[in-house]
Amino acid sequence: MATKVSKDILYECVNEVLKGSKKKHRRFLETVELQIGLKNYDPQKDKRFSGTVKLKYIPRPKMQVCVLGDQQHCDGAKANDIPYMDAEALKKLNKNKKLVKKLAKKYDAFLASESLIKQIPRLLGPGLNKAGKFPGLLAHSESMVQKIDEVKATIKFQMKKVLCLSVAVGHVKMNPDELAQNVHLSINFLVSLLKKHWQNVRSLHIKSSMGAAQRLY
């Protein structure tokens, strides 16, 4: 499947995007997006095109993850300079909707220990649900730092009614190899989900937030 977008073209576009961002320096870290245009797909009939995919390199390095941990996880978070809250701290919010909303806004994502995650509805109510930030499970069997990196490297995509989709796959400070690999992985995964695979793809572009779109396919 990757041969539909040759390595040459992929690198050419990646380099163009990175070059473009270096030319005109912006005051924020530009995101690099993959834009996919579909064909032979009917949103009314065909299966919903959405999901999550884990990339190799973190596309949003500034993403802040907070650990809602049991004793062990809180100790681990403290040792690794990771923001955390324990059950007591959550209880202090008293299920106050404004405070829960504030907490949700403060971080981009949450991870919670098994014992805590089961108490979230009772401790916090549906505030994190509404914000789209319900915590992911942090098991004791996995490394906290690794899991956080996984969360940071996972992107969501959802196509709604129109036949095009845009996914953040990187940023302009990445080196060409990293960006190319992320783009390659994303393309492979997204195309693999389509019923007719490449026959459902009309076009592929990548672009930085403020830059011009570079056509991959």
Binding site: K56, F189, S192
Partner: protein, 400 residues
Amino acid sequence: MFEDDAHSSDEENPVPDSDSCKPKELNRLFEQRIEPSSETAASLKRTCGLHLALSNDSRKLAVGLSRKDLQLYDLGTNGDLVLSEASFATYESAIKGVRFFGTDPNSLMVCTEEGNVSLYDLRSGAKAIHVFDDTSEGPKKTMTAFDINQNDRVLCASTEVQKCGDTFLLFFDIRERTFLGSYWECHSEDITNVKFHPTNPDLLSSGSVDGLINVFDISKSNEDDAMQTCFNVEDSIESINWHTSPTDQDWISCITTTNNFHLYDTETQDMIVEFDRAKITESMKRTSSIDCNVINSHNDGNGGFFLLAGSNFNKGECLRSLKYDNKHFLPHRNFLHNRQIIRASVYNEKEHCLITTGESGLITVWRCEGSTDQPPSEHDISASKNLKQKLHISHRSKPY
């Protein structure tokens, strides 16, 4: 340098999907080989079958088509399907769900995208006897799915994310025909499925693109208190189903839009097992995970459940079921001569009958012989010969 996803095909000509073992081995693993008892084309015009509902007496089948038509069929005990109404109702917007009452084979409900849930009494013709009105604040909400609770008292319809940014679960009292209220804080994206518990009238589950499965006790007075459990699947959810464990605990399963399957225990709130599409493909004895189409999970009437899955390759000719057994999916039934990519299925637990519909607009009835613990025998071969003969006779129902 490029670490390709092991399941994607990185060749000039990707290898087409096929069985991962020889026919002899396949037949040994899939002891039950089922042929269609009957198959009907919903329409001569191109259409896709997207919703199925079976009445509680198992004799009526309602089919929701992508053409926005609702059709009715009579289902015989011998598996024959006879068209009753080719176009019982036609709607302005897409059909999003069809359901018969649990206690009445003549009461049928249909939900459409524009936000109407219509109630029909099949004995009094095709005009809806009531259309449920959402009297909540704001413009009419676009609906995505619905379900009715165990005692046919409460209707719950789920919505897409509305312009205001909220996404809703709308509740109606079916008997009183009134709007009861809504939940609107429990999800942040389109809610794709709602399922009431099969026997507990107060237990409801919802699944969403946001990756959450919520379980509610709707007897509680407000949303905060009603929300019992949240499972974070961390992937967009397509559908959810209730099952029971061998020790009678409640289980919830979900199928994601990425063709993964997850199973959760609602009592312990733990995830029991998850299968990605690669694992499911392997269990199905196919080679191409990118063509895997995970359709539905069904309770088998013997306390267990099975997963229905197929391949998109070659117009969905591969259709199989896998029986769940202690964190594994075992080869179960091989449905032969399937002719379309399946998009909806219902399973009649009492009569062991599977009905499917899909992208070619065909409705197929698969009668499965007896229980799942039947040993393989010569009997299977002669039984399928009889079914083959039946197939020729049953194409007598035409839409007009």
